[in-house]
Amino acid sequence: MLWSAYRSQTYDELLGPDGHPRPGARALSDYIAGLGVAELEGRQRAATAEIRAAGITFVVAAQEGNIDREWPFDVIPRVMPADEWARIERGLAQRLAALNCFIDDLYNAGRVLKDKILPAEVLETSRYFLGACRGMRPRHGVWAHVCGSDLVRDEDGTVYVLEDNLRVPSGVSYMLENRSITKRVFPELFHDQRISPIDGYTSRLYELLVSLAPERVTQPTVVLLTPGVGNAAYFEHCYLAQQMGIELVEGSDLVVDDDHVYMKTIAGLERVDVIYRRIGDAHLDPETFNPGSVIGCAGLMRAWRAGNVALANAPGAGVADDKLVYSYVPDLIRYYLREDAILPNVPTFRLCDERQRRHVLEDLRRFVVKPVNESGGTGVLVGSKAEPGELERCRAAVEADPRNFVAQPIVQLSTAPTLCDGAVEPRHLDLRPFVLSGKETYVTRGGLTRVALRRGSLVVNSCQGGGSKDTFVVETSGGM
């Protein structure tokens, strides 16, 4: 029996501590056991062949220049019961509502500072607060239109928000592709249980983008702005542009004239009304930000400020992405919405606070130390796995620039069964659902599950060897 040898050291998503399937997971665990490892490996090979044929890749920077890697995918899906998901969905919608109120407030009245909910120093030292955005009121009061929040579950089963990605979150195309692969290699699974479909995302995204167009425009031209073929998420940019039927443009395709944005076509210039930009703020407009940028478009900010083009996400939205600001999100939810946070934060120590810093530095090995403004796992130190030298370097870096770091207790990420070298073993994972905010809020059913493929590893980032799984949100009311 496949499950008899399966043991997780922490919370497992599929099986409870007694070895029985969790709510919603029975159909999958029976099915996997019925297949056996050899058949599972056959399906894994079919999935990998599918990924290769479809050209589902991401770009890894290497010495030889950038190379396309096939998307790493594990065939065994991860299960989430629908009633639990409903709570997570409400929690994310609540969180994004508060974060958008917060960003809009920061760039306008600044009540949150006057009421001393957030200390002014946090803002003054934030790398992602952009003075050029002051006084702007994007449509619907929304700045972070597309958000990918990372969720983790600890050993007692609590789901936490680990971080919010409000700048240019990526991964949604892989979520969609994972499902289409699973449907091909495990069609049987979809027959006798109710798994929520997820394919409405690109239509929702397109509708959201159209709704952002300047008011006088009746049939807006929407484009996706990519840094180019060398970007890690270039596959996703192509995928989304194609799914929405919009042009995939690079900065050099755009030109700003008289505060309007145009794209260069073979018939001349064509006006652009909405830009879903996948370029970071710093490179967006050499006229306003980094003057050395060759992937942005000069004058974009002028056009945006004049209300002649919509940018999603809005410039400056990343201010709420700072991991120090993250530590205030439960307060922000209370302040703006007068509600308690539905989804808790991972407890976070602010290292600019002397007392908290001393507490953390006393025993660094119990913590994860993170730079506040990085993404993709860059610069993160997991104390329990670090060499003595690394610990010392981290301590020195924290003491030199405490504002630049936060620390969190090490969360023992939950596991799910994963096919590894001829056996089904527990591997740690997280979950990145995507939230679209406009006039209404839309949360994907499930999200992108990322899994650490090495035994015991807690690093799930794709650029650091992580894999992925399809995520089933399963209706449990039918008695399963």
Partner: protein, 331 residues
């Protein structure tokens, strides 16, 4: 409306795939002719190296492995075989959504195969590799012919193919004229040489079918330049270019450049072949430049150079600066 950048990539995809095919054809013909000229050192055929932007004076001194290394396997030279395939692949990589999905598989597999070849590969394997390039190029043409929308991207791909095909045919003919033909047009093995020229531009069987006889100057020229029903002739290429331009927004400068090419097609054969070739090449260069000027965008740092240095001519905007690559990756 099609983005200028994508149109440019489609145009250069067409040019580079065609360049790789035509260079392979010329080299294959060279091998065959060399074997058919007993006792001679196949004089001047190293000049075909000029097609790949390698100085013929230098090519004469190269041993076979060095010749293959420079003319076939130098990735940094966008006119060598591997360089052309690399540039074609980069252009397709940026325009995959315009083309049938299988095109990527075909071109990528071909590129990887040529990139894996060693300069020391034996003649028989070299020959197989060159034949594979020709076959894959035909495969791509078939995939496009039956699988692609007749849209603007299709028009630009074909504009690139036909400009390059005519350009390479003329260059090959020009090399033969400049290096092989004594003033009296009666070199040793004259018919072998003319047949060689016909083979190198893929015209051999057509010529046989039409003229039956041994190849000579007048009929060869007639076929290569003025025969509209022969699909690799200059006249045919100009006819196709005319048709594809008809599908695009009209541009006066392009129309003028095309008319100038068509007029030069009425040249008399009493002129020296070199002069005919030079006039026709210059006309094609002006037409190519007019198309780029009217519809396409030139990326920074990729200004075309003029003069004899073939290697630097017609470089597509794929050589993105390091800085740009770093920002792409970082953003």
């Amino acid at each position: 409306m099609l983005l200028s950048r994508l149109a440019e990539n489609a145009f250069w995809l067409g040019r580079y795939v065609e360049r790789a095919e035509d260079l392979s054809r010329a080299l294959l013909a060279y091998e065959e002719i060399r074997l058919d000229m007993p006792g001679q050192r196949a004089p001047g055929w190293q000049s075909l190296a000029a097609l790949a932007g390698v100085d013929p004076a230098e090519a004469v001194r190269l041993d076979p492995a060095a010749f293959v290394g420079l003319v076939i396997l130098d990735r940094r030279n966008a006119s060598s075989l591997l360089g052309s395939l690399h540039a074609a692949r980069e252009n397709l990589r940026r325009t995959r959504s315009l083309f049938p999905a299988e095109c990527w598989h075909t071109l990528n597999a071909l590129y990887l195969q040529v990139a894996a070849a060693e300069p020391t590969l034996p003649p028989a394997e070299l020959r197989a590799l060159l034949e594979r390039v020709v076959a894959a190029s035909r495969e791509l043409a078939g995939q496009v012919a039956v699988g692609m929308l007749r849209d603007d991207g299709y028009a630009f791909l074909r504009l690139g193919v036909h400009l390059e095909r005519a350009d390479m045919m003329l260059r090959t003919a020009g090399i033969v004229a400049a290096t092989l033909m004594p003033a009296d047009h009666r070199p040793a093995f004259a018919d072998v040489r003319w047949m060689g020229l016909l083979k190198s531009v893929g015209a051999y069987t057509t010529y046989r079918h039409r003229y039956h006889a041994r190849a000579d100057f007048t009929s060869t020229l007639d076929l290569l330049l003025y025969e509209p029903t022969f699909p690799r002739s200059l006249a045919h290429a100009l006819g196709e270019i005319d048709r594809d331009l008809g599908a695009l927004p009209a541009r006066r400068a392009v129309e003028d450049a095309l008319q100038a090419c068509l007029r030069s097609g009425a040249l008399e054969t009493h002129l020296a072949l070199e002069d005919i070739v030079d006039t026709a090449l210059a006309g094609l260069a002006r037409l190519g430049a007019a198309i780029e000027e009217a519809y396409l965008r030139r990326a920074p740092g990729t200004k075309a150079t003029t003069g004899a240095a073939r290697a630097t001519q017609g470089r597509a905007p794929i050589a993105t600066a390091d800085r740009r690559a770093a920002q792409e990756a970082a953003s």
